[in-house]
């Protein structure tokens, strides 16, 4: 029951073509030394593609191997992605995404697009706080009738991509992934093992 990564983006508005990463936090201590960098890059890559592929004011959950990625694309040009494992309660994950975006707005309200950098340290604190969903979940439990019906569930990341798009092409074209991760993806595919995180 863990969250691997939490990424906050600016998307749509002010002539932005690619989602702009505003802040991110990672919790990768369960991976070995050599895999951590690749896993981190993959989390960012998945977050990027998911943000692009969700519509405005939409929430999505995408399953990939043993992990569930939760995306929330909000109306105020902010989008947030959390990569969690399949045990983590999705309701709490979406509460976390909301909280991250609300906290960011408190500091940088109406300043999106005007500043160059947006230092946002609280994202790391929130990530560690929410690793244990039980402690954080008390209030959201009582408000049980949330609008959960608006959350869409996708089985694999390939369903999120547009027609004719292949994950391999996206990987090759991506600037976020280093040569190492791309090679890792190719060799892993050859050996028929799961390409991404394990």
């Amino acid at each position: 029951m863990k969250i691997l990564s939490l990424c906050l983006y600016q998307w749509r508005g002010n002539n932005i073509t690619e989602p702009k990463l505003l802040a991110s936090a990672f919790e990768l201590s369960s991976f070995g030394f050599f895999k951590r960098k690749a896993v981190q890059e993959w989390c960012v890559f998945i977050s990027d593609t998911l943000v692009k592929r969700t519509n405005e004011s939409q929430r999505q959950s995408v399953k990939e191997n043993n992990y569930l990625c939760h995306v929330h694309n909000r109306f105020d040009n902010l989008a947030c992605v959390a990569v969690c494992d399949s045990e983590y309660t999705p309701r709490v994950a979406f509460a976390l995404l909301n909280k991250v975006m609300d906290d960011f707005n408190e500091i940088y309200e109406n300043k999106l697009g005007k500043l160059e950098e947006y230092p946002f340290e609280q994202i790391g604190q929130l990530l560690t706080k929410f690793q244990d969903p039980n402690q954080v979940d008390k209030l959201s439990k009582i408000q049980r009738t949330l609008d959960e019906t608006t959350i869409v569930l996708q089985d694999t990341i390939e369903k999120v991509l547009e027609r004719g798009e292949k994950l391999e092409n996206l990987v090759d074209r991506s600037e976020v992934l280093s040569m190492q991760s791309k090679q890792f993806y190719k060799t892993a595919k050859k050996h028929n093992s799961c390409c991404i995180i394990c």
């Binding site: 030394f33 050599f34 959950s61 999705p90 039980n134 280093s178 190492q180 991760s181």
Partner: protein, 521 residues
């Protein structure tokens, strides 16, 4: 000859005695100027480029085939390097095993070496078996060392006893005491070492279970470790109450962890029976207490995280034990409770809208909270809410700021008093006194209601089979004929209400009716 070059570099690193924490495959080339080119070695992390692995493997296999010509030292390093790349190579493992029993391999260092292998491949059976052999050898060697030291002292003791008659007895007894102290110190050191080593082993098991869930080999190895402890009771309790609880909370779908808890409970029982100090009844009470605490723990998990089948399976085990020990109280019918929740179900059966489900939820929770000690915070809020409303009315009438501040302070004080009262009530009603299968049925109903209301990603019939199992279990174990008729009526009620498990109920009813016919015949 790339393979040979990499082989010699690895040999260098191993011979230099530096500690290796991890081994991995890298995809970027190391710069030519670095010390260990073409290997990557920083802060104990050893990496080999993926294009170099195949030549390395070919070269070492070639060498391995010529092992009859090689010296012992060479074979040791060869097998070490071979196993790094291919830990499943059993011939090399067995070769190392022969050297272990020979005495050429230090068990402690070998255990550290195995840590590296297991971190990458936590589910290779032969590695775990080998690890157990190394551990046994390690403890043997430890014992021999201490026996050698202790053997010197008893010889002195014997000599002292002979001289006792002639020499001052005080000095002799003090020297014999010293020897005893030394022996004790050595034993304590031994115990400390054993405990330290076992702690490391436990942490490796948890790490491997973390990497690969439901890791059978890691958990069975963990169970075997307990044989090495002489007085494990306090450690067992700590493991049960502290470490395993944390682990289970983080890995709810890992049924092997819950199975390990079952083993711990059984083991504590056998250890308690060995200690014949207390009377039988007290022992049994202690053991029952443990199982009730387990039930509370698992209920807490289930209400917070509905949707995990493993917790329900574990609940079956705990319930069977409790029901068999407390037959009279468990199989009795609590008519008040039964009437209450049947009425609730009948009222709400027709309206399955969300609002009514929530109301039903709250009524059932009120009944269950003090018994299973769940929803503690919710009910503190509920009871103090009424008092808060009264006080806000009072504060609105006064206009002075200071007085409102005072009212807020009195609010907080009264809230804490309320919380204390509630806690006292909760402690007064214990699960033991009122636990019956009726309560268990309501509990199931409530948790599964929760799960259906917030049915999200887990689309399994989680816990539904538990309800059915419970009814069968009660039916098979009680001798009260009235129970059967009332059980049938409750099954029918739940069939109406429980739309997701309709088919399950239909089939079960048929089976129950058929079994009745067979019995009559």
């Amino acid at each position: 000859m790339e393979g040979e070059r990499i082989y010699t570099k690895l040999q260098q690193i191993f011979n230099s005695g530096q500690k290796i924490k991890e081994f991995g495959v890298i995809f970027e080339h190391v710069s030519v100027n670095s010390e260990y080119y073409p290997l990557f070695f920083e802060e104990g992390n050893l990496g080999v480029h993926y294009q170099n692995i195949l030549p390395l493997l070919q070269f070492s296999l070639c060498l391995f085939n010529q092992r009859s010509t090689l010296s012992e030292k060479e074979i040791l390093i060869l097998t070490k390097i071979l196993l790094l790349v291919n830990p499943g190579f059993v011939t090399a493992l067995n070769k190392r095993r022969t050297y272990l029993y020979n005495g050429s391999i230090n068990p402690e260092k070998e255990l550290d070496y195995l840590d590296i292998l297991l971190a990458r491949h936590p589910k290779i059976q032969e590695l775990w078996i080998y690890r157990f052999d190394i551990l046994e050898e390690y403890f043997k060697q430890n014992k021999n060392q201490i026996n050698n030291i202790n053997n010197k002292n008893p010889n002195n003791n014997n000599n002292n006893k002979k001289e006792n008659n002639n020499v001052n007895s005080n000095s002799n007894s003090s020297s014999s005491n010293n020897n005893k102290e030394e022996n004790n110190n050595n034993n304590n050191k031994n115990n400390k070492e054993i405990n330290e080593r076992l702690e490391k082993e436990f942490s490796i098991c948890s790490k491997c279970a973390d990497i690969y869930p439901r890791n059978y080999y890691a958990w069975t190895y963990r169970i075997k470790l307990w044989k090495h402890l002489s007085d494990p009771l306090s450690l067992l309790l700590e493991e049960l109450n502290v470490t395993m609880k944390q682990f289970v909370k983080k890995h709810l779908s890992d049924y092997s962890a819950l199975n390990y808890r079952q083993f711990l409970l059984k083991e504590i029982e056998t250890q308690l029976k060995k200690k014949k100090k207390k009377k039988k009844k007290k022992q049994q009470d202690e053991i029952l207490d443990l199982y009730f605490q387990e039930l509370l723990f698992i209920s807490h998990l289930q209400t917070n995280y509905p949707g995990f089948e493993s917790t329900w399976q574990h609940r079956k085990f705990v319930l069977k034990f409790i029901a068999n020990r407390q037959k009279k109280t468990f199989f009795k019918m609590d008519l008040e409770i039964r009437k209450e929740w049947e009425m609730i179900l009948e009222d709400q059966v027709s309206d399955l809208e969300n609002e009514n489900l929530l109301k039903l939820n709250q009524q059932i929770r009120l009944r269950l909270a003090p018994i299973y000690k769940i929803f503690l915070d919710e009910f503190n809020f509920e009871e103090s809410e009424n008092e808060q409303n009264e006080q806000t009315e009072n504060s609105e009438q006064t206009e002075n700021n200071e007085q409102t501040e005072n009212n807020e302070q009195t609010k907080n004080n009264e809230q804490t008093k309320n919380n204390e009262k509630n806690l006292q009530l909760l402690n007064h009603i214990s699960l033991k006194n009122c636990f019956s299968f009726d309560i268990e049925m309501i509990y199931c109903q409530m948790v599964l209601l929760d799960y259906e209301v917030s049915n999200f990603h887990q689309q399994r019939s989680c816990g539904g089979s538990y309800k059915i199992w419970l009814i069968e279990f009660v039916r098979n174990n009680s001798y009260d004929l009235n129970l059967n008729t009332i059980l049938q009526s409750s099954i029918k009620l739940m069939k109406k209400y429980d739309t997701t498990h309709k088919n399950l109920w239909k089939n079960k009813l048929k089976l129950i009716e058929n079994s009745k016919k067979i019995k009559k015949k």
